[in-house]
């Protein structure tokens, strides 16, 4: 048998049939639903009189629109409320299990599925959300889909897909102190660009990936889409199995033993061929900060805002010029002199317990700078929130003048009430720094949780390696 990559194996194991034109009908094991991309899919089913193919494959939660403040009063915004209530109604009508807004298991869909053991190695996982790539960290083939495809999965448990090319990002070395999985993935995107992975499935591998925790791997895979790849993945290993064991929907007893034996076969064969391979040395990385309006516009914290005149081509010169204007930055300004108005710690990229611990460690015993108007800490799920509170992290944040919120997507995309005002500058642990992403006119700098926490204390970005608060 020819050598296969991890992606080849996952693809082949879910291939029901292929058409002559190369389109393949793939079986979908897990389908995650949220309120923004599902209403039109359910109404399509209803209009056609169709039922769900396999109810138990689906799980739903409300995350994008939910308020992160007291929820007893419900949702103030009428359109947000309508979307969340529509999800509740659709799940009830079609029999889909839902972690509703008041359920302690509610949270960001990409945080709760691994947390519940609903994402397992070897699965295909889809969701109407591009950050579905997150689940690849457990050795699943996971990718985002549009609403028409959401409807298709609900009705058929399958998707038509065309196989991507294989790409491997090989990470040598291990990350230095103060440099995290977030910095690693930002540096990768800086190296290959936001279209660098287009048409490819990316496997992240090498000593630098093996050294990451499972949560760190989720942060890396989460941003595969920011490198243009629909899916990112990491071969499951002992850390993955330890992470999953005992979770509510993880296999148990004999099933567990059988599952682990199978999961151990989920890795690229040693002589597997990749269409594209890039290497990066983790040991050489510094904390990363984005300076522009695309995740590829990223630099080390010790760098200076670039001069568009030095851009490698006219398209980028134009993009850099536009980005600097939007961001209100001058070429040549040291990154560490950029002052922030707000700080957001959260999102499907960085709202897991390890992220909150990393932020709390920086913050402990300190207070936010007076110049920083607000710092939002938004845990990824109700269970992450409970864990953080059990560890006293919420108190550390509160004493620093940070706001401790309820779980949801929050200010990553500002669909709820959490947003930037025009011109406000934010250090954010989320994944996109697009124009207007965190609120019309808002300016986003993507960083790790530790870097965001330090910026909240100092009032500007700092080089964590040299900063002592």
């Amino acid at each position: 048998m020819t050598a296969q990559t991890l992606y080849d194996k996952l693809w082949e194991q879910h291939r029901i049939l292929s058409e002559e034109d190369g389109r393949t009908l793939l079986y979908i094991d897990r389908h995650l639903l949220h309120e923004v991309t599902s209403p039109q899919a359910f109404s399509g089913l209803r209009a056609a009189g169709r039922k769900l193919w396999r109810v138990d494959a689906n799980i739903a939660t409300a995350d994008h629109n939910v308020p992160t403040t007291d929820r007893a009063a419900g949702i103030a915004d009428a359109t947000s409320r309508l979307q969340v209530e529509t999800l509740d109604r659709n799940c009830a009508e079609f029999g889909v299990e839902e972690y509703g807004m008041l359920d302690r298991r509610q949270g960001i869909v990409h945080v709760i599925a691994p947390e519940q053991g609903l994402t397992l190695p070897g699965m295909t996982v889809v969701c109407g959300d591009s950050h579905t790539a997150t689940h690849g960290a457990l050795g699943a083939l996971a990718f985002g889909i549009g609403t028409t495809e959401v409807e298709h999965v609900l009705a058929t448990q399958c998707l038509w897909a065309r196989k991507s090319k294989n790409m491997r990002v090989w990470v040598d070395g291990t990350l230095p102190q103060g440099v995290t999985a977030k910095d690693l993935v930002l540096a990768i995107i800086g190296q290959i660009g936001t279209a660098g992975g287009t048409g490819h499935a990316i496997e992240f591998a090498g000593p630098g990936i093996e050294a990451l925790s499972v949560e760190g791997r989720m942060t890396v895979c989460n941003m595969a889409i920011e490198a243009g790849a629909r899916s990112g993945m990491v071969a499951p290993d002992a850390k993955t199995f330890a992470y999953l064991q005992g979770r509510p929907h993880a296999p148990q007893g004999d099933d567990w033993e059988r599952a682990v034996a199978f999961w151990q076969t989920l890795h690229s064969d040693s002589d597997a061929q990749f269409d594209r391979e890039i290497r990066i040395d983790a040991s050489q990385l510094l904390p990363q900060v984005t300076w522009g309006t695309s995740p590829e516009m990223v630099l080390s914290v010790d760098a200076k805002v670039p001069d568009p005149a030095a851009a490698p081509d006219p398209v980028r010169r134009e993009a850099w010029t536009r980005a600097l204007e939007y961001m209100g930055l001058q070429a040549g300004t040291p990154i560490s002199e950029i002052a922030v108005d707000k700080v957001f710690i959260g999102s499907c990229t960085n709202a897991r317990i390890e992220d909150l611990r990393a932020a709390a460690e920086i913050v402990r015993g300190k207070r936010k700078a007076d110049s920083v108007k607000a710092v939002l800490v938004v845990p990824g799920s109700g269970l992450v929130k409970a864990q953080a509170e059990a560890e006293g992290l919420d108190e550390i944040f509160r004493q620093a003048g940070f706001e401790w919120r309820e779980p949801g997507c929050s200010m990553c995309l500002a669909m709820n009430a959490d947003r930037l005002e025009p011109g406000e500058r934010c250090a954010a642990t989320s994944n996109r720094n697009f124009e207007g992403r965190q609120g019309a006119g808002g300016r986003t700098h993507l960083v790790s949780p530790a870097m965001a926490a330090a910026a909240a204390i100092a009032g500007h970005f700092v080089d964590l390696r040299r900063w002592h608060g």
């Binding site: 009908l25 094991d29 399958c158 243009g228 099933d255």
Partner: protein, 209 residues
Amino acid sequence: MQAFTTLDSAVIPLDRANVDTDAIIPKQFLKTIERQGLGQFLFFDWRYRDGDLSDPNPDFVLNRVDLQGAQVLLAQQNFGCGSSREHAPWALADYGIRAAIAPSFADIFANNCVQNGILLITLQQETIDTLFLAARAAPLQVHIDLAAQELHSADGQHYSFDIAPGAKHKLLNGLDDIQMTLAHADAIRAFEAERRRQMPWLFREVQHG
């Protein structure tokens, strides 16, 4: 879904790279539970001044008087990057865009366009540059023939383009994927039964409440 056979239209030259889905349709308009009605908010932040629907920005290409009613977008590389939300193609379709031409498109966006009857034409960067040059001053009319996979521009240029046969078939006939898939229901059931036998842990009891 409306079938796509041929189209005659002026092109709307949007000369920006990496136009993301948040720019195509900002997220404040994603709270709809309908598919229609998003066209008026297409490119909202660029198209209107100070977020005021009654104050169109005259410098933005969509507001050019001579391009009103145009149905083809000419764009730069990596168009449609960002979110998987289908609201971006819905907004384009609702505005009346039926085809887009660019050096490259983001993967998920490209998939979503096919699902909504929008034809995406990928051409070499040099060709795109030529088209932008031709479309800059005055409207450039194009004729698109999907069956022949050809694009003719009014300045006498002809370009052929590639498209996956499956996508072409769907667009030409305006087909619904679910119907096509359910023709394979037996194969899906057989695959599923075997999977359940080998990996029972992938199937679970549904809980409610």
